[in-house]
Subunit: 368 residues, 5 copies
């Protein structure tokens, strides 16, 4: 039984949590099966050659790992516990690594073990069809002459790296295997910029919408961006510390040259985080703007009501006065106006004067 | 007389505070008695055997502690001061440890003493019946070859650990006793994820409720989540530093292997804290959303009032004009319209025109 | 002339500030005289005896200080500069200590001088009669074999310590004099928990009030709690650093054993600060709740107005129509309805239909 | 050409900025000339004597600087570049110091150069006539046996120091010249407490105003305090680091005794900053209170409108019904009520009943 | 293919992002071409001479770089990849530097490589015509005896430096080449003060506008300033760390004298950041003020409506009563008032009394 961690970016119903208190390092995938079958690909390369192999039994990898060339083993799909266990025991991975690979709600981290360095981080991709962020967990194990990587889906996130690997004389081929690990990390971080672009575009659309009509749907979108921003931040912030730890790590597994490149990744992560922070401010500003717009509209509605009501209510009252039925015959004081020669025009003029006065009053108050 | 600390998660009336200035390390339970009787269980184990004993007199433990095997003594219930005192003097615990065990409003901490390491932390469980978080204090004393743990209630939080202890060859049986202390800490932290799940579910329910009808009860629920989040954060944040201190502690009581596992607990706590932070942001966002929804509704109400009033008030005024009783016989200027052939239809048409003009005006303003 | 610092918790009119630029270390009490006469009490004790003395001339203390036993001199009242000066010169206190003792708006701090350690902190007590926090400054000077303490009022804050001192074999009697200094600090910090309890109770009362009637007084109380919280935080936060400095201080004046106890005080202060922070969040939440409640009420008021006005304004208009005086004799088109057989009932039915339609409309909008 | 920095506390039109890219250390005063003529005063003193001299040519200072006594040269007015240049070249000041002295928008800092320590900070004084904060820049250069200080205006900020200097046997006369530098810094910081007092008084006045009538002017005052607080904080925060740097500075120019006094200044600055922070919270709280008060008033206004309108609109409708002119002679169904015996009283009673019912409804809703 | 980073200050449509996963250090300009042709200028100087050269082939620079004099090569325009590549290979720049120069959305940073120090930062200029901030990326490479700088446009930002370079005996000519790098950085930072001035002016204009008429456009301007402030902060904050790193860098490329000047730049950046922070607070305060003003106005509108409606609605009701057509002949109880002698005047007086009472009520409530 594996212990499930919390993966909050999805609102899909999560699998029921296992009982707390189970042993750490127990291995069971907690996500939804996302591939038909676990696919294991091996790439063995050095400056002069590159071999590619689709692996069915992990033992097939042994000759490649035992020779001095660099080896990359990439695993797609995490549901087949048996197969994964065979890989882990083959590489002699620490139980905590095993647990982290299949518990796909991990926050990003970097941990050193005796024989390897372990990275876990989150890949964000924006699917244009569903108009929403998709995220999956990427785990990378960097050993002395191999990189072992895991992803949940069978999407080709790392296709560009394969392309670059196939170029003879490229940096990927020349540098030691830690450069490959860097390239994988860099690819994931590069995807963050696309996610940022999408969030930025949404913010601009909301902003434009606010100054146009201010329909109610904007409120939903502001809230959604706000939630996405909060969760995106949460998933990326710890990565800064993880990469920083990798840069300062005294282990031989990472060469000085690669550290230089990792510093670049580190800068990019800081840039992503800074941009997220300013987006967060901007979304708050958008919400304030929405509320201010709403208040402005309410104000305008109230002004219209007040102007119309304030002008006509007194006039209607005057009309009501002269609609009373006091009997002029009973007393000379009973509504003598009704029988005067200029009574009606005078009353109309009185009404007009009141209306004009009111309009002047509103003009002066700048309500008109 | 024990000194009472503040336990703010409960809104139940607290026991009256003792006078400040009493001696530290004085021992008296400040909570409500939660078990019939203090239950002491002893588990003595090594790789080859496990003995279980229900202890009535603490002296029964002496032979188990003096042999080289590992021993876990677990105490449920904190109200029987005499019994607890016998345990403490048996283990020679520092007065400050004694005070912290029974003052159940402690914030989480880890402290090293000459002969032991002391952890205090808070267990959160979500009771489905009462729909609320229940919390109790867990204290763990890690000695050279024993673990001594205390809890307030008789709930079986640590049942899974007992199950794992009973498995021959399991890590709990093989590793030294500090691994057991780790397992207890890990179990408590694992429960935080369940509590987080519950808070997350509540947030999603509120969110759904906001976009449906927005009944007033939502306001209570938003406020309750906000309070729960604030208090949960307060109870967990200091744990980060406590576990970190345990990892860096130079004492021999914690082995390097266990430090590796504690690092994992540390990561989980960070993850819990980060998730709490994003929940906090999301609850604030929910409140803003609630307010915006309210303003939107108010706006709609005002528009309906304004439209109806603005259309009918002028019409009523016109009707009022022709309801005046100026005497046509007294003057040809007194309401001659009343005697014209098309007077009535013309006035109706005038009214209709005004209404249509108003409706156009509102259409143009996009109020309709 | 002493320099006055700012003491913002009181809203009483402060004494006029002295001109800036006066010499530091000049001695004049800036507060209001709070006792009739400065009271100096001396307690000389060791494991075997305790002597108590009411001191009028500070020279009476000399024999007690010169013998090896521990001595506590406690001063109540700060207005008699001459008397204080005699004490200070007797103990050879640094001018900055002298200034800090009488300038009672100090923020908490700990400072080491050659011959002593100086603590200044603020005691908070909640007076049940006036329903408000009272605060006064406590200064503690820890020398090699004496503790010298000052307070502004003659309240018996430290009575429990005297009680414990009188118990032969108690820790206070056994441990060196720095343990007494710790006990004084601990007593002050323990009072913070009572103050916290009071603030917490007020928050709960406001919360209950909000869900009951929401009278205007709540706004005052929310604001008052908010101000109290802000000022309480300000007065306590620096204490954390002060106690931390005392723990790490290399001086011999504080023994390792007492450092252990100071660590406990440190933990309590952190707990007070954390609780203040969560109270601050909760008060903000309460204010938001108040505003939301207000908006909800306004919404309800507007709905009632809108429903009534929207139903009756059109009906009144119809009644107005048939109240017009167009002369039916002047034209067959002038209000022929008035002379129809079913005119009046038909108009009433029309009105009823309009009212029912409106009510249905409001039902559909869930305003009713 | 000097480069102008930004001085945001004044809203007066600033001098046009010089083009960026000019050489650092170029010397030209950027403020408004505030004195007729640059006044240079020299005070040469030691324990036994004090000489005072009004300097016209800086060369007059040479004998005083070359003798071993302590010398303080104080300059009032910064507009006369030639005179200032002669002083700077006389003291061989670094170009960056020269630039900072005349660019009067500096934020506070402390910098060490080979032959001196340079302080720049801001003096705040509250002018009672104009009811606003006035600020000017104070620069202090501490050399081996001299202090050189600059201020913009000819106000007598440092008069109390002169008074203390004239007292034989005073600390200022006995201690080395760095104590004088400390005294100048302390005087400036002491003025911050007066400024704080003024802000605090304004906050209390606003608070009192809020609970009295809530006139619109309060909004201006809240905003002004908010702006003043923001700018005051900005001008003082960096001073903390500057003084801290001075305390830790290894230079011989500051003696250990003076470091002790600087630590006191440091504590005062922290206290000023903490108080500013709590003022900031309180001003935010005041603004929230203002808004809540406003909402409460709006609510009350709306209730009055709603109550009056809701009671009278239905009554007016009923009156409107019986004001219709349906011809009773045309049909027995046309308004037969008009001819009944009790028709009028019955209609009045009906109206009264409706009014009473409405009032009961509002009572129940607690609107009355 | 170069990898594009996010440049959020422009709202112009960005170029499509390249696929993540491309090799780092690949070189392609991501911005819009801003100059006709890449312009390369060389300035070779020492204390005694200065040579200026417009370079077409980078090889022309070799003799200048090989002699011991100082050399500045400034490049305007980044679109001609071939030309840039020739420069980079000539100077043997690291691939990551190459990538950063053309990816013009970099956040500010300073990085040391074996043979050079690399700065990237952002120049802000305020164009008075378009009333908006323009920004471009400046890259500076400091080598042993050369400075290589890049900018996107052909604007003459560094003209003042050229002017100062041409002055024989000026500091730029005397000091080593790192002083030139400092001068470039200082010029960029000086421009920030102009940008700050512009933001400050806008804030003052908005403030003035708020107290005058409060037109809707202010909301847009507040929002724009808020966005500009957020993005400006994001672009400048990391610069602090970059300059700090340069100051502490142990490399020989920066002399101790220049470090002193860099410390000055560092102080300026802190000042810019502090000012930005206080502007941010002030803009938030402005928005609150806007909302409060709006609420005040709404309150006023509602009061006018309520006063008019509340006065006239009851009067209209009374007029409506006496407009009813109950037949006086059918019953003595049917509207006998209509036939009384003083009926009409009495009803008018009643109405006037009600109106006066209402006005008194509003006076008492201070609504009038």
């Amino acid at each position: 039984m594996a212990k499930k961690r919390f993966s909050p970016l999805t609102r899909r119903k999560q699998l029921p949590s296992q009982k707390p208190g189970t042993a750490p390092g127990t291995v069971e995938y907690v996500g939804h099966q996302k591939v038909e079958e676990v696919i294991i690909s091996l790439y063995d390369y050095d400056e002069d050659h590159i071999d590619q192999l689709s692996v069915t039994d992990i033992e097939e990898c042994r000759p490649y790992l035992e020779n001095p060339t660099k080896t990359w083993i990439h695993v797609k799909g995490l549901h087949d516990t048996e197969k994964l266990k065979s890989i882990w025991s083959f590489f002699d991975l620490h139980p905590l690594i095993q647990e982290d690979i299949v518990n796909t709600g991990q926050h990003p981290k970097m941990e050193t073990y005796g024989n390897c360095i372990f990275f876990v981080l989150r890949m964000f991709t924006y699917s244009n069809e569903q108009k929403e962020l998709h995220s999956e967990q990427i785990s990378i194990v960097l050993g002395p002459n191999y990189v072992l990587s895991f992803q949940e889906t069978d999407l080709d996130h790392f296709r560009p790296i394969l392309n670059r690997l196939s170029v003879q004389g490229g940096r990927l081929r020349i540098h030691p295997v830690d450069y490959l690990a860097y390239a994988l990390l860099d690819t994931v971080v590069d995807h963050y910029f696309s996610a940022l672009d999408n969030i930025g575009d949404t913010i601009i659309q909301i902003e434009d919408g606010l100054f146009e009509d201010g329909n109610k749907d904007l409120l939903h979108r502001i809230h959604r961006v706000r939630r996405e921003t909060a969760l995106f931040r949460k998933s990326i912030r710890p990565l800064r510390e993880a990469i920083n730890a990798a840069i300062r790590d005294p282990s031989d597994l990472i060469s000085d040259n690669t550290r230089l490149y990792l510093r670049d990744v580190y800068d990019h992560i800081i840039q992503v985080i800074d941009t997220m922070e300013s987006y967060r401010d901007m979304v708050l500003s958008l919400h304030d703007l929405y509320m201010s717009n709403l208040s402005n509209k309410m104000n305008e509605v109230m002004k219209v009501l007040t102007i119309i009501a304030t002008i006509f209510i007194p006039l209607t009252f005057i009309a009501g006065i002269y609609g009373m039925n006091f009997n002029p015959e009973a007393s000379p004081y009973n509504m003598p106006e009704l029988n005067t020669y200029w009574g009606y025009p005078a009353s109309l003029i009185l009404m007009a004067l009141i209306a004009v006065a009111m309009i002047f009053y509103f003009k002066e108050k700048e309500w008109l």
